[in-house]
Symmetry: C2
């Protein structure tokens, strides 16, 4: 299969990485090994599930690493656990602080509570209610501060100084990366024949840890990183050879919507990640819908990128290649979910919303409905509005929501209606 | 804990049921045992997953039987496989036929294809596109006929006669029940300490098989049946002592929206099911949302009833009682899902849609937004309409969608707005 969007392929040399050498200057296999027992204190060994559906769809041998079933619903608890386990007695005494509106908040809260360490999490004032509630539930003191993440982070840094707490970084920290890397060992244990592991990249902590574990144990396996097109700092940084800070980010995958990778994570990514590719928001939405509909599994956008990269062949792979997309978490707001589902259905030609104008005469709606039925589309909903100011006095604007069978079916339906004289706008 | 809605408790006598006696007149343990190897040819041993979340929410020790991960997305393939495996060579030659708009269609299609038997499935003309497609994909010839299930079934009966095919009933058939019952053995194998198994009832095939397996092996374990309030024929029939045929059905759990239980299934249910309870559509929607949001697992409405019965304490249970809700399938239309999610959020006070009227003066919207912010609710969307004919010429109607923290929060917000002089209608 041909790669569609290999943005960056590293001239990867294994010589530069000596597994277990323990240089100390950088993350090594020993660090991830040392994290394993600590992480097991708070975290589950999550299932690896062979996917008949996605194997059939891609021709590869696809096994899903379901980190969605991790405690707190995402991998972040692993890194937080390892970071907190390696605090000095004095640091433990003073507690920890972090800023996050997402999974890291819950990971730090639960890891700290389990270790008997006090935690403060600063979240932006308009953070989703469900995330605030969950973070409090896991035992953290939540401080709501600022309009966005930067303002929350500034407040957390103040608290770090004022209260002499240890700041737990979400990714750019060796102990955090080592904790996330324990997922790599689980993949190797459950699927020793793995050929390619596909990992989402936001700040890079997850892939840095996983790549260290995988390459350290199984140097021939590939590690592919995936970013959202609208937040592809790692891809840009690799191309440039130095860290690129994005002006802004724009993606539905909010868990990986970071403006830059970390200093430390970038170092590891440069050395140990084979290739970093990107996927679009549409591709993410489609993957999320497939995971739900076919796999019966809820993913957050950040987790869906790795599945999207496989489904869209964003990197090269062979038939029957053993591929493990790491599905990093399932914490998605239910309102966001309904929006993403609609987008996924629209993208795959299975939902269509059109607007047209009916002459306001008896039978006009019947005629339109007959055309739609003849085209074998199911009508979900009809919004009929005679008061719209955009149409002539005696005409009526109508919006129709339809179930369709795919893009070809959509095209056929639209042609048919237009041939029948309807002026049709596609709204969704 | 007190039961809220124990509609029917049987004076259950184990003496009437001799496990393995093999009377032949009725389903017995031997039948289910015999089904086991046949069913394994097409079906997965699905996971049983301890749920930390639902245990914490209920005080019981809840393990979820994730039949959602079954091939075809639901349990029906088990019964169909056993039915087809027990055809005579001549019957195999002529093929099978059934009518279904749901999981049974896919179960029969795949089971037949795997066994090398030809299958015809009649579906109503307006069956969801996704189900038609899936059934064809699994190898059946799909005939679209009739406005509803009854008309499709009549056509299937014609085909049975015309083509000398064997009709595979969705539930009222001993071999089908025996196949579904294999789930009971898997539960006992993975959780020998199980005290209560909670099973959805539509036609009754699933619970008849499961109860036979569970009671045959572990007579002290309870088997609780759950129906949707709007389709509670089994509950009504048990109360009456004979089969009650409902005038109509009305529930979001379309997979169990049957007007009557079967003759054969009712016989087994009367003898081996301890209690049958009902849950409302609201309770089903809430359970479905919790399964998704907290459990990261997609359920169809019919599967969510068993979780709903546990969450709502529709039957009595003790603290730490080992309870297994059988989550029978995950095949839910994505459009239906978005509707059910919204309903679940509304029911739990986490989504609110209100309408009010603003005087059309500068600053009116600012004032309203300030009140909402002071009440700590997040605004999702605002629809502002000056042209509505229901309000005075210079006023403007406004609809607001809000994220709230629960029913208390909703009440507080509404009180605040009304005290501030707004006339508020709750739309959702």
């Amino acid at each position: 299969m041909q790669s569609r969007a290999a943005l960056h392929t590293l001239p990867f040399s294994l010589n530069s990485y000596q597994p277990g050498a323990g240089s100390g200057a950088m993350l090594d296999l020993e660090d991830v090994l040392a994290a394993r027992d600590r992480v097991a204190e708070t975290s589950r060994h999550t299932p690896l599930d062979h996917s008949h559906t996605f194997s059939a769809m891609t021709g590869a041998d696809v096994h899903l690493k379901l980190e969605t079933f991790q405690r707190t619903g995402a991998f972040k608890i692993r890194g937080a656990t390892n970071r907190i386990a390696t605090l000095s007695p004095e640091q433990r005494e003073h507690g920890v602080v972090t800023a996050s509106a997402g999974n890291h908040a819950q990971g730090v809260a639960l890891a700290a509570t389990r270790a008997g360490v006090d935690s403060v999490v600063v979240m932006p004032e308009h953070a989703p209610v469900s995330k605030v509630k969950a973070t409090r539930h896991y035992g953290a003191t939540v401080v709501l501060h600022g309009e966005d993440y930067s303002e929350a982070q500034a407040r957390a840094k103040d608290i770090e100084r004022e209260e002499n707490r240890t700041y737990v970084h979400a990714f750019d920290d060796w102990a955090v990366m080592a904790g996330q890397g324990t997922i790599g060992f689980e993949i190797l244990e459950d699927c020793p024949e793995v050929e390619t592991v596909v990992v989402p990249i936001g700040g890079g902590g997850l892939i840095a840890g996983v790549a260290t574990a995988i390459k350290g144990r199984h140097p021939d396996a590939r590690v592919i990183g995936v970013q959202a097109e609208g937040a592809s700092s790692a891809a840009a940084s690799l191309a440039k050879g130095e860290i690129e800070v994005l002006e802004g980010v724009d993606t539905i995958a909010d868990g990986i919507a970071t403006r830059r990778v970390g200093e430390k994570t970038f170092e590891v990514i440069q050395e140990r990640v084979d290739e970093v590719v990107t996927v679009s928001d549409s591709e993410i939405a489609v993957a999320l819908v497939y995971a739900l509909e076919r796999g019966k599994t809820l993913l957050e956008g950040a987790a869906a990128v790795s599945l999207a990269a496989v489904l869209e062949e964003a990197f090269d792979y062979e038939d029957d290649e053993v591929i493990v997309p790491l599905l990093s978490g399932g914490n998605i707001d239910m309102n966001t979910l309904t929006t993403v589902i609609m987008r996924g259905l629209v993208e795959t030609g299975r939902y269509l919303k059109i607007r047209t104008v009916l002459q306001d005469v008896p039978g006009a709606l019947v005629h339109l409905a007959e055309e739609i039925a003849a085209a074998e589309a199911n009508i979900y909903a009809v919004h009929h509005d005679r008061t719209s100011r955009d149409v002539a006095m005696n005409d009526a604007e109508i919006e129709i929501e339809l179930e369709t069978r795919g893009q070809d079916h959509v095209d056929a339906l639209l042609s048919r209606l237009r041939e029948a004289g309807y002026d049709v706008d596609v709204l969704l």
